[in-house]
Symmetry: C2
Subunit: 415 residues, 2 copies
Amino acid sequence: MGRNVAIAGAGMSDFGMFSDRDSKNLFVDAFEEMRGSVDKGFDANAIDALYVGNFTNDLFVKQSHWGAVLADALGLIPKPATRTEGACASSALAFREAVFAIASGFYDVVLVGGFEDMSKRTTEEVTEGLALASSPYEGAAGFTFPGVFGAMATAYFERYGATREHLMDVTIKSHDNARFNPKAQHQRSIRQIMESRRKRAQAKGGPVPAWETEKDFLADAQANPPIAWPMHLFDCSPISDGAACMLLVAEELATSFTDTPIHVRGIGQGSGRALHAADELTSFEATRAAAQEAYQMAGVDAGDIQFAEVHDCFSIAEIMHTEDLGFFAAGTGHKAAAEGLTRRDGSKPINTSGGLKCKGHPVGATGVAQMIEVWHQLRQTAGERQIPNRNLQIGATQSIGGTGGTCAVTILERR
Amino acid sequence: MGRNVAIAGAGMSDFGMFSDRDSKNLFVDAFEEMRGSVDKGFDANAIDALYVGNFTNDLFVKQSHWGAVLADALGLIPKPATRTEGACASSALAFREAVFAIASGFYDVVLVGGFEDMSKRTTEEVTEGLALASSPYEGAAGFTFPGVFGAMATAYFERYGATREHLMDVTIKSHDNARFNPKAQHQRSIRQIMESRRKRAQAKGGPVPAWETEKDFLADAQANPPIAWPMHLFDCSPISDGAACMLLVAEELATSFTDTPIHVRGIGQGSGRALHAADELTSFEATRAAAQEAYQMAGVDAGDIQFAEVHDCFSIAEIMHTEDLGFFAAGTGHKAAAEGLTRRDGSKPINTSGGLKCKGHPVGATGVAQMIEVWHQLRQTAGERQIPNRNLQIGATQSIGGTGGTCAVTILERR
């Protein structure tokens, strides 16, 4: 498979809704942090090419052709710059192309990233823009993404006996992890949010909600209103601005950049049918295909993956992905979440970053941002959210676009 | 540079404005023609991956995530499918990624194509959509693409003493070539158009225009109205729908697909600054960088390229590209066109397909469609527009996005 590839550095902007930051600012933030992370330093002139993933800034900020725009902003002219688009998996696809570009021998040093600027539009405009990634039939049937994932959740509940309580397990865990992620859009636990709301109610002198547990709070339709049943507000990832990037290098050059390279051990990508034509509603064919390709390349199986960032655009998605990746048997992902297996101290930590739900989901940035979390965990630089007491060697990411039309799986390794 | 890559087959839809055809239909047309062109036949299951270039169907037909949509339409699920976007160079970038994917050893057989569905929107909407590929500064200054290229033409005229007559030489040649291209959107020579208009005027009983030469016709502002001086209507490529695709295979497998493989000998890509920051207005830095990279990989120089398809989105662009590619010295491209050197029977035939001007310019399809013309010429299957009496071995394509923000150059070879 050509030459091997390693990650020499990584950086990301803050994720959130920023009225004073645009895609260029955010990408430059990510780039500067990446530069600082390359411990032996490097000359930006060494960068041979740029790959960027972006979903739909064409619509959100009325600018396309972002490869050229960012190459100019980063001082990379006349180096080649290519944008990939695969809906919410856009930068995971960019990462894959960057790997191919090095593996083929064409380039030695490639900058890869992703970004999205979503907050300058109304929620309605963003929802409509994102819906362009679903199939023409889904759109014509009136589905937006919360609706589509709501339908999949309903099918999952019916088939496997899960309930909204299982979705809450996912949400509570994501918020618990995000407390320790200084880049995350939402950095409070559900309990913190609950106490804050309670205090606010007390201060107003009105009735004080009787929530005792986090699940009481999430079950309260005032506090956690339905969006598209059973997807409530706290089941949905937010509208976010942000950027993330990585420096990829040919493996044989890695130690001239850093003492702690992280190696790309496996990459896989698959495509899936839209929901109206899918074989089933509780699993993504594209993820199964991508995982198989990545595991085969890496020479590992699901049991070898110690932890992962998966594409929890909605809480139900996290459960389904952990099954499609083979971490848990079909129909048991919700039980694994309930048992705490996916917590930071569980046997298979999932979304230690807080996931898309809490870290934020600037759609074009997400794929690379997921990899940055795995990179941090493998380097033991994840701070207070570091997976405890583990010799971490292999982690994975999984990103989907649309309703599973595209999926990319990446396996990273520390040696 | 990894494994070598060859073209095993190619096909394109008709180019034009089709109220009854959408991107899927057009891409399937291209795919079916491509299948027929693979003379030893092949099983579509052999396709390992799909790359597609598209500029902005997000806006034009309110659908993004086209990799997945087309993978499904072509029966390729669950194979990976990736969309690239580099404005009007989008499918030239897809081609390059497909080459990397094979060169790296990841895949053996890759389908690559491009498409655009533009005609369902008003001219104003299309012009505005395309303008998203120019720099934020150009857009803010009120420039659309005819305006930008008009400004560059003005600078070229001033610097090198060219006139509108030189632009007419390009236009007349493009129309002469397109007469023999059954896929072209405009298949009549300027003389044929002129005679037809004259007959129409006679039939109406009104005054009959006194045009004698084609240049008389093109100089008549009634017949050829100004769009953004000196760009008149016949200097501008049209709004088009269309699709094009190719089957790329690892070179060592090529003869199991076809007796006449065409080899990818060089690929190059570059980025350029927007006009407000460009070093000059009469040359594209991105083209010079891309050409240098492609020539170096191929081990050739400009003199070795026997013919080329270049990105004549506007007539002035063709002149500038033939200089940036090194075919003619800076400031002499207009004279070369006037002397007939770029005609089919000239020493350096350019745009034998009729170019974007006459073949049509469905922006996302253009890069691969240009390569298809070179593929035909090298295989001696270009019919009546075949370059006469030449043993053709090496041809090139050049595609730009925006105002030169992106450029890709590809060198193809018959052995």
